[in-house]
Symmetry: C2
């Protein structure tokens, strides 16, 4: 059977002051009236019944997210005792699936990315599931639209097969975030896609990779798996997890995995990694302003404006991000949106956690 | 005796969203911890005992301002039943003074202007009072620092006398707000000063000008004066005031007054007519930012930032006005501060008086 596993444990303040340590991106209504997590579940609906959608996250985050998706069984939220990055989280999902379905094929997704063309996205997942059923690890790659230095890349050679209308390539390797010159070369060459973090594999196939590449984590996962559905499950999870090291899927598994394929997709994907990238996916008015809340614009263009119950007036300003929250206000040039982290750093250094 | 009369009836939204119809500029703490009205009273203290400082305003404004100056006798707040512009307000103050002091010399001041060099200001008032004692109407003129088109001007010829170290000139005429070319000529010629709205005269001398130039208003003021200290005072004031027309001192009295002198002063005067002019008089940090509230600046310069209990973060922005209030936020390019009125116009047109 095919299952979706949504990794929802991320935290971050790249969308400060809206995103906070306790209120990360996936919990926010950034686009329309649904949170990023809700969008992530919504777009799976036609392909996955709710009982086959799992969420891996922390206990605190599960409490925050569970009420957002009343249709998902509460038991489908798998809580990590502590965050250990993406590889252990994927392994934890895999052993849970294998407990009841040795043939489980799992689609690994993130809770805080945006996809505009959800129909094309589901078609790509179906194609990937077909390929993964035969034992291949499949990654969905995003056709780059600019020379991004903030993403990893996957390179590929000649087309291997065509599945469900999608060209499937054998992966020629994973590359970590490149410098700008390399990114330009990747973009121009046409043989690289962004690593979206969306993978499809048999759960048993992932466990084999753990056994080969990360045997210590594999052993811990085995212990956890054997205790599942017993009264000791929670104790064993906490005990084993405390010794599991932090490691990412890309670094721990994908860079040296056997038999990996890549399906380049054009689905209007965005990681919403900053206010600037959020502007790109939001509808704008005739002046190019993307507005949430009451707004009066005098000669102001291409701004992102968010407020909660407050009137915002802008006069003679272009390309600004204006985000108002009850305790903090951000006014930021659009092309400096990545420097929100500098504000967060200063607030941390100044000992002002109330704003973080 | 010398009296100060502060005209405090003005309303306006040029400092929106901080200034509102019910919360005009004089009631706001724009500079330091004192309101503009408090500054106006404070700077008089060494020259005027509290009992000789009068305030002319509306009943509603008196209720707002009286608690700000507990040292002033409550009876010194003279309430106009309705605003009738500056000439009737000055006449109302004059008849109140003449009731108890036929020799009263009155200094007419405004409640919402700022003066940096208060010592020089008081010296100029003393000089003006000396000149006014002999029957001359004296206006304090502000040496222009740029070709302003938003102020009236007073022209003058050769120096007439020197009083208390100040050159006193005979006025050669009042000019209403000029166009830019004229303002440039005024600035370069050196024979024009801004009409600050600060006048010094004998109260009886002002009444003579009313009798000659505005006999209808003079008659009303006489009626009001005769009823002062009687049980009918309030009724007579309301009755007469309802027929008094709106007219400014400049237009109704000064343009055709006899025997007018002007004392040019350099006292760091500002009418704080917009957020841009407020920036000029506020102390700035090393990045040129004038800040009220908690502020984190990343590569941001020459901004005016005001918030009430909210953290403001700015990234990569220069020359912005950022003013946050509980229900409205303004983000405005500094050189577009005069267009705040456009926002106010739109809010009025949209039927949103809650923000005005």
């Amino acid at each position: 059977m095919l299952y979706a596993v949504i990794m929802a444990g991320g935290s971050g303040t790249r969308l400060w002051p809206l995103s906070r340590r306790g209120q990360p991106k996936q919990a926010l209504k950034l686009i329309g009236e649904r949170t990023m997590f809700q969008h992530s579940v919504d777009r799976l609906a036609p392909l996955f019944p709710p009982e086959r959608i799992l969420v891996v996250t922390s206990a605190a985050m599960a409490d925050l997210l569970r009420p957002q998706t009343p249709g998902l069984p509460a038991a489908n939220f798998i809580s990590e005792p502590e965050g250990r990055d993406s590889a252990p989280a994927a392994g934890l999902a895999a052993i849970n699936l294998l407990q009841h379905d040795p043939d489980a094929i799992m689609v690994m997704l993130t809770a805080d990315h945006y996809i505009l063309d959800t129909e094309q996205f589901r078609s790509a997942l179906s194609a990937a599931a077909q390929v993964a059923a035969a034992g291949t690890i499949v990654t969905l790659g995003i056709r780059p639209t600019y020379p991004a230095t903030g993403f990893g890349y996957v390179s590929f050679g000649e087309a291997w097969v065509i599945e469900n209308g999608f060209r499937v390539y054998r992966s020629a390797g994973f590359t970590e975030k490149p410098d700008l010159a390399t990114a330009v070369r990747f973009l121009e060459g046409g043989r690289h896609v962004w690593n979206s973090g969306m993978f499809v594999w048999r759960a048993s196939r992932l466990m084999d990779e753990f056994a080969r590449q990360l045997p210590d984590i594999h052993a811990a996962l085995e212990q956890i798996g054997q205790a599942l559905d017993t009264p000791q499950a929670g104790d064993v999870l906490r005990r084993e997890w405390s010794n599991v090291r932090r490691i990412s899927l890309d670094y721990g598994i994908m860079e040296h995995a056997d038999n990996v394929a890549v399906i380049p997709v054009e689905v209007g994907w965005s990681d919403i990694g900053s206010w600037a990238s959020l502007i790109e996916v939001l509808p704008a008015d005739e002046s190019g302003n993307a507005v949430t809340g009451e707004f009066v614009a005098v000669d102001s263009h291409n701004c992102l404006v968010r407020s909660e119950g407050k009137l915002v007036a802008a006069i003679g300003v272009d390309d600004l991000v204006i985000v108002d929250t009850p305790d903090a206000l951000l006014v930021c040039r659009r092309d400096r949106a990545q420097d929100v982290k500098e504000v967060v750093n200063r607030l941390t250094a100044q000992g002002k956690p109330v704003y973080l």
